[in-house]
């Protein structure tokens, strides 16, 4: 099965890196939609469906924390699994993001294997 992924990160370089790592690790990528912050992500989500969201936290305009909060309040969007990809690996931050509904948390720097494992875990099958 091919998956549609929404990548949310204000760094175009990081979005490009994650997209490349997904492809190189054999992830079956149908489409990769990209957004530079949470507000842009919500706009995309109102227009097209995705299977999983990978989001940074520290972004301008709307950060990843607010994005998760908005997703959890939206009955159409709350069931889309979200994985946080962040440089912040402090316990309070991880607990807060999990509390807001994140189903996975990947600390940067990360290996291709850890990204793949997190995707497999939230999508519920080998990818």
């Amino acid at each position: 099965m091919a998956y549609r992924v929404l990548l949310v990160d204000d760094s175009p370089a990081m979005r490009s890196f994650i997209r490349r790592v997904m492809v190189l690790s054999g992830f079956d990528l149908d489409a990769c939609v990209e957004a530079g912050d949470g507000a842009e992500a919500l706009e995309h989500l109102r227009q097209e469906k995705v299977d999983v969201i990978l989001t940074d936290i520290n972004m301008p305009c709307m950060d990843g924390e607010e994005l998760l909060r908005r997703l959890s309040e939206d009955s159409d969007l709350r069931d889309i699994p979200a994985i946080v990809v962040s440089t912040d690996s402090t316990k309070p931050r991880i607990l807060r993001m999990i509390g807001l509904g994140a189903q996975g948390y990947i600390a940067k720097p990360f290996s291709p294997e850890s990204l793949r494992e997190a995707l497999e875990k939230v999508l519920g099958c080998p990818v």
Partner: protein
């Protein structure tokens, strides 16, 4: 209270981990580079807040910056635009700073400001400095901790 030795060790570990994991590159700690060489580097600064408050700076020699960008983006060095080089070194700075602080302050709240390109002729007084050597060139870090918490 974090000691200078703990801070230096944490930055060295974070720099090594980021370069190895994300760039498949190695960096070895080396003596501080001469001031003139440091001023030629492309530099990034990040303010941080939380249990610790201060500023992190990192400078990259131009060839290293371009090589990192090419590796990160999967491009040939000649294909990488200047803007892409800047994006990659800002992201690299963000990862090293975040990883270093997370190691030290794993139970504390932390907030990083957006990384921004910096003038590298700024004073380094009060900054704890360290340098690292890679096959593509040198990289220098500096961190200044302000007293008190928020």
């Amino acid at each position: 209270m974090v000691t200078p030795a703990e801070l230096t060790a944490s930055i060295a570990a974070a720099a090594g981990s980021v370069l190895e994991t994300m760039f498949f590159a190695e960096a070895e700690p080396c003596p501080l580079v001469p001031e003139e060489q440091r001023r030629q580097m492309t530099a990034v600064r990040i303010g941080f807040h939380g249990g610790l408050r201060g500023e992190f700076r990192i400078g990259f020699e131009s060839h290293l910056a371009r090589a990192l960008a090419a590796g990160f983006l999967g491009l040939d060095e000649s294909e990488v635009a200047e803007e892409e080089v800047n994006q990659v070194i800002c992201e690299t700075a963000n990862m090293i700073c975040g990883a270093a602080l997370s190691r030290i302050e794993s139970d504390e709240h932390m907030r990083l400001e957006m990384p921004a390109l910096a003038e590298n002729n700024e004073e380094c007084a009060g900054f704890l400095q360290a340098c690292f050597l890679t096959p593509e060139g040198a990289m220098c870090t500096g961190v200044r901790i302000e007293q008190g918490t928020e």
